[in-house]
Symmetry: C2
Subunit: 190 residues, 2 copies
């Protein structure tokens, strides 16, 4: 782990790496401390417990994710271009992360019944993503609101399905397939 920055940040960075790579329950705090080169007391002064660290992790990951997406999208592009470029972003991420999939989906599988606050952050994040797609699609399909929502939610489902299937098959074909059908749906004129 990078030895720059302060202990507090180093803990979060290392936790982020390990929670993603090994899972939340499978990652012990001792491993985090070792790899972050940080004393145990530092974890408990900056974060109160492992669960609180987990919550801080999700919150930071939420911000990081949308920051990365927005900086990947080109400012002066149409809503249609942005929508399709979301799938390019996804493809790049899947490769970059060695097909570990979505941090939030992975975490939800572990803590859905275990930790209500982590669950809430995850749900809020995905609700934000849903609204993000809805906004872009509403720019393209302006006349029929019901149709716009049907298409934007379908794009969301294709997006999420592509994440899961990409993780399963260790390949980007699901992302390419999703992008292609998303294009088809968006070009279906009323």
């Amino acid at each position: 782990m990078a030895s720059n920055s302060n202990p507090k940040d180093r803990i979060l960075q290392t936790a982020s790496k390990l929670f993603y790579a090994q899972g939340y329950n499978a990652t012990g705090i001792n491993q985090i401390l070792e790899e972050a080169n940080v004393a145990k007391a530092s974890l408990y002064t900056h974060y109160g417990s492992k669960d609180d660290l987990g919550i801080a992790y999700v919150k930071a990951a939420r911000e990081d994710w949308f920051n990365a997406l927005n900086s990947f999208l080109e400012k002066n592009s149409t809503s249609m271009e942005k929508l399709l470029r979301c799938f390019d972003f996804l493809e790049r991420n899947m490769r970059l992360n060695d097909y570990k999939g979505c941090r939030f989906i992975n975490l939800l599988a572990e803590v859905s019944t275990q930790n209500a606050e982590m669950r809430k952050e995850i749900v809020d994040h995905k609700s934000t993503l849903r609204a993000f797609f809805q906004n872009l699609v509403s720019d393209i399909i302006e006349d029929d609101k019901a149709k716009a929502n049907q298409i934007s939610d379908s794009i969301l489902l294709l997006f999420e399905g592509a994440i899961v299937q990409s993780k399963i098959h260790l390949d980007v074909w699901p992302v390419k397939t999703a992008k292609k059908t998303a294009t088809t749906l968006l070009n279906t004129k009323t």
Copy 2:
């Protein structure tokens, strides 16, 4: 847990319930033994270790899942009807399981890097599902093979995306949305 059947089956049944409800890593063998009313030695004679029990769990779940699906589909129905009814099956399952989502996706999130054999079973299961959709769609779209595959894979992605989003929002609207768009895709004539 049902006290019928033999210890071996009771272990698997209880493990299946707990792994699904709490996750694999969050479930200790002691809890399984208590709820199954079974001695510890019985677990280690019938299954060799917790991981081996986990593998047995996935294998049994694979068989159960497709058995449930096939018995839900009506024998004398068209491929189109069967395809759409898959989403009714999904909706029923999501409700029935209190939106715990997909056993295989949930498990993959935990053991993807941890246990290669469990991963393989999960991947094989999803590959079977993919082929299942491909077969049905190929009955409907016979002329254009590339188009048939594009549509069947898109249905797979909608299906998987609906599972994930349904678990997130504790609602069946993603399944309904997926079914509707799947219908649209299947009705797009060449």
